[in-house]
């Protein structure tokens, strides 16, 4: 993985506890979990990593098929 990347989970999500891997997999420390963003400290330089939610336009498929998995990247 990218060693200076910190995985985080949104506060208040239905997943409950924070992942144990965060501390084990990196030297960074998760210092805050607020809303849909996570904040991290890496190599002494604070960096905010915000993961915006998607904009739901039509919501009618809460049918047990699961969660949504994406890899956001800046488009052209």
């Amino acid at each position: 993985m990218g060693d200076n990347a910190v995985s985080c989970r949104a506060a208040g999500s239905r997943r409950g506890r924070a992942p144990r891997a965060v501390a084990a997999a990196t030297t960074a420390a998760v210092i805050a979990l607020t809303g849909t963003a996570c904040s991290t400290v890496r190599s002494g330089a604070p960096t905010r990593a915000k993961a915006p939610a998607v904009i739901v336009l039509k919501q009618g498929a809460d049918n047990g098929n699961g969660d949504i998995f994406i890899t956001r990247a800046g488009g052209a």
Partner: protein, 335 residues
Amino acid sequence: MSGPEIISNTGKVIWFHPLRAHELAADFRTQTYQGKPMLTWWQGPPNLGAVAGGTDYIYNDRYQQIAEVKGGNGYSADGQEFLITPRNTALIVADTIATANLTSIGGPADQKVVDSIVQEIDISTGKVVFQWNAADHVPYRDSEQPWPASAATPWNWFYINAVHLDTDGNLLISARYAWAVYKVNRHTGNIMWVLGGKHSTFLLRAGPGQVLDRAGEIFAYQHDPEAIGHDEYTVFDDESGGGSGLLPYSRVVTVQLDQAIKVATLVKSVKQPEGLLATEEGNAQTTRNGDLFVGWGAVPYISEFSPSGQLLFSAQLPGTDITYRAYRLPWHPAT
């Protein structure tokens, strides 16, 4: 900021793994490895499909990395596919630059080309157990992509963007620039059939209410062929390679093959709900209840359709964000 991300049905972030600047992630989903559910994705330089590729990662349900997969034989994973098979091997795509003599088709004698390669990697050992180079099996003349003005500019003539398993265990390989899906014997590498393109094994037909594109194809510049059983396949149909499309919109097509009479029939399709054209990327996943979950690639939308084609769910990515693929999958992290 790029990274693999899990989102709830209401659009809220459940988990996000931010990457360093100038890194990209792709093909993030759950898969089964050694009988257990895992998170998997590719991570590397910010160009999918590039010769200088990246690494595939496997995380357990405690969000701990347990394995990584790299290409073998001097190649690297280009990010367009990371599929774990029931044999605990990984199917990936890699690319290499070669020189080809194209004089038989009116081209240069020394054209640089991008050759696409499929590799199957034993995840536990890193050993390459199968390799398929498109140039060994498909003639350059089957490309729908014009070669560059300069012989020194690599011609991306085939461009594998997906490799999946058919229901019998053989491989389905999507070649974006051949407008074709190839079924390949996973042991011999021999091509078993070709769907679409210049030398389709099947006559292409549109079923009632369906249309072929302007080139008479069921799909073009496509991604993500998926076997859904009973000789039916879904394909994400971009219909554009960057210019004006062969249709004015992208769609997902369902194709029925009749192996006896060698006919492929477009039996069903769902259009991009906003009527937009994806010039690259995209995928379509049949969920466990039969819905169709679609990532529209370069068009920043994700959708879910019922089996009858009714739009059930639609979401837009913020800003200029896009996603290479999108999935809807059950995930139950350890507590």
